[in-house]
């Protein structure tokens, strides 16, 4: 399948500080690519370079085969962008905004259809300054679709939205993919990436530290599947001594790693035979969020120095 986005050796430097440091990845046409990273890791800088809004220091970037900075005007006819915290003219309604964008692009969108796609029909004639944060983001999404884009860049489109609004944006993203469009999604929400993305890239301190499908990333960077018992620490000691397994204790729980699913029966028999009282167990696998936290730490870490766009 052809690549919609190709990035090689992309670097953005502010003085001696690297906001993005020689990164590379590609996004296949018709797929959803989730670009993850903590605040200040270089997500927005990278996204803006791909959109042609910011110039890179070095590297080769192609979106739909075009150089976003040098061929931005041509590229912008073929992509749709929702920036973080979408802003528009305060006194203009969604219908007027769609007709305006339609006139600029020379397309003839039906405002009712576009607003229906983002579930904003009931606010069709409300002025922008009266819309809620979620409704503003939905209008941004509708406007980004007025030119029937081949690639959609969504920069944290669901940040700050309530669960219902978030799910409605997710549904739009799924529809975009079904229609064969490429979606480049920047997000803070690991659950969002896991649910929607075909491919994920994790950026940290300006470098890509993990990439692949969510399953591949979990497999490569996550811990093994585990049995988690509600039991005293003595159970962990017993299992380590008798079965030569990795067993850890956390807050009244004992976690035992499985090297293969067949280990489960052997471990359960040993637990039963130990005579140590236990109340129950569950099986647990790492999620993308577990892997993310392990790789980059909590979301608010890893920021660049203040004042530097990232």
């Amino acid at each position: 399948m052809a690549s919609a986005i190709e990035v090689r050796g992309l670097t953005k430097r502010y003085g001696s500080l690297y906001a993005v440091d020689h990164i590379g990845f590609s996004v296949e046409a018709g797929t959803v690519y989730a670009f993850l990273g903590p605040n200040g890791a270089g997500k927005t800088t990278t996204t803006e370079i791909l959109e042609g809004l910011r110039r890179c220091t070095e590297g080769d970037v192609r979106v739909l085969g075009l150089d976003p900075w040098k061929q931005g005007y041509a590229l912008h006819q073929r992509i749709g962008v929702i920036p973080q915290d979408f802003r528009f003219f305060d006194k203009i309604t969604p219908v007027e905004g769609i007709l305006y964008y339609g006139s600029l692009f020379g397309t003839h969108p039906d405002p009712e259809v576009l607003l229906g796609r983002v579930d904003l029909q009931d606010k069709a004639n409300s002025r922008f300054d009266t819309l809620s944060g979620g409704q503003k983001q939905k209008l941004g999404l509708a406007l980004a679709l007025t030119n029937n884009p081949e690639v959609c860049f969504l920069d944290e489109p669901t940040t700050g939205l309530d669960p219902q609004a978030r799910r409605s944006i997710w549904e739009v993203i799924r529809t975009l993919k079904r229609e064969g469009r490429t979606v480049f999604l920047t997000t803070h929400y690991l659950e969002e990436a896991e649910l929607l993305a075909d491919q994920v890239g994790i950026i940290h301190h300006g470098k890509i530290i993990a990439s692949g499908t969510p399953e591949e990333i979990i497999r490569a960077h996550g811990r093994a599947q585990r049995l988690v018992f509600t039991a005293p620490p003595a159970l962990a000691d017993h299992l380590r001594a008798t079965l030569d397994v990795v067993a850890e204790t956390h807050d009244g729980r004992v976690e035992v790693s499985l090297s293969s699913p067949r280990d489960a029966a052997r471990i359960l028999s040993a637990v039963d035979a130990s005579g140590i009282p236990w109340e129950g167990f569950v099986t647990r696998s790492d999620t993308l969020e577990d892997v993310f936290v392990r790789l980059v730490g909590p979301m608010d870490e890893g920021a660049l120095k203040p004042g530097v766009p990232a």
Binding site: R54, G72, P83, K91, I92, L104, P309
Partner: protein, 372 residues
């Protein structure tokens, strides 16, 4: 460049504007307030004696001395004897800062004695309507007193001392309100786009609206032309309101000719571009407002908006001549008051050249995208 995109953007601008009551107020009501305010201030009376420059060509004859003493006694004027050449009397009054002047002709004493009608020639400056009215009242009042006392004694009450309508300093024939209208139209051409564009340039950048527009096919030139189109429309409406209010409230009479149109087009063209350029230079909305004020306020007061530049000290007159608004207002004075097409063409030429240069600079330096 596509007219359809300029039209689409213009539609958004007009809608935004019409839905903003504060902006509407300032655009439509503010001009009327300005005309009313300045008209009332400068058409009304004022306290204190007016300095009246008098050229006494009757060489201190008893009758002329008595007439001037009577004028002084009214407390409305303070007589100052001057010795100017008669042909350039009006010009010299202006040069020496007098708003009113009077020539007592040679033979005043003899004509009074012989009961031969004699004309006093009064000069006033319409831009100082209060002083003009005060001096005219004093000169005609004392003339009437002399006529009654000196002339009716012989049984004939035909006035001997006559005061024809005053001549205007600089040989012009208009009132202050007539001068005020082109000045205030110029004021509006300057302030409305300058304050607005400086604010838009910085706030749209801060809010990311320029970035969003940069992702559409709309170009910087098209966007700026759409704004210029809007302010040209607004200027036509504002000029109409000001001319109407001036005529309705104060009986102003200015010529409304096709020659006015170029100024109502190139004026906003220039100041929308200048506002955009100033806003582009500023890094924050606060510094944008400061830069806007630094450019706008001196121009507002030194370009002949409220008072003729000829009344300024020579140094300030030089400053005025480097301010673009001076040429807008002077040009409108020429077409609305003096029918001086040649000078108006020069003025509109200067403004048009400046407008094109500043438009090009604004488009060049104003960035949709972040080049850092």
């Amino acid at each position: 460049m596509k007219a359809s995109r300029i039209g689409a953007d213009l539609k958004i601008v007009v809608r935004s504007y019409l839905r903003n009551p504060v902006a509407l107020f300032f655009s439509l009501i503010f001009p009327i307030i300005l005309i009313a305010l300045f008209g009332l201030i400068f058409a009304g009376g004022s306290g204190g004696a007016v300095s009246l420059a008098v050229e006494n060509l009757d060489h201190n004859s008893p009758a002329s001395v008595a007439y001037l003493a009577a004028l002084n006694n009214t407390s409305l004027v303070q007589v100052t004897i001057v010795d100017y050449s008669v042909p350039s009397f009006s010009a010299q009054l202006g040069d020496n800062g007098y708003s009113v002047g009077l020539i007592i002709p040679a033979g005043f004493q003899a004509d009074l004695t012989n009961r031969t009608p004699v004309n006093l020639t009064l000069f006033t400056n319409p831009e100082n309507a209060a002083a003009a009215g005060q001096a005219e009242g004093a000169v005609t009042g004392v003339a009437s007193y002399f006529n009654l006392r000196a002339v009716c004694e012989g049984g004939s009450c035909a006035p001997v001392i006559q005061v024809p309508p005053p001549k205007n300093i600089g040989s012009q024939i208009y009132t202050y309100i007539d001068y005020l209208i082109p000045g205030l139209i110029g004021f509006s051409i300057l302030t409305s786009p300058m304050f607005s564009m400086v604010d838009i340039a910085s706030s749209y950048r801060k809010e990311g609206i320029f970035r969003e527009l940069s992702l559409t096919p709309l170009t910087k030139s098209e966007w700026l032309l759409s704004r210029i189109s809007w302010y040209v429309l607004l200027t036509f409406v504002t000029a109409g309101i000001m001319i109407g209010a001036g005529a309705g409230l104060f009986g102003a009479h200015v010529q409304i000719t096709l020659g006015l149109i170029p100024f109502l087009v190139v004026g906003p063209f220039l100041f929308v571009s200048l506002g955009m350029l100033a806003g582009t230079v500023a890094k924050t909305p606060e510094s944008a407002a400061l830069i806007g004020n630094i450019i706008t306020f001196p121009m507002m007061f030194l370009s002949g908006t409220f008072f003729a530049v000829s009344l300024f000290p020579p140094g300030l007159q030089l400053v005025a001549h480097v301010l673009p608004l001076y040429y807008v207002i002077d040009g409108m004075d020429q077409v609305m008051l003096f029918s001086n097409t040649t000078r108006a063409l020069t003025d509109v030429g200067v403004v048009a050249i400046l407008a094109v240069i500043i438009f090009a600079l604004a488009v060049r330096f104003f960035q949709w995208r972040d080049v850092a």
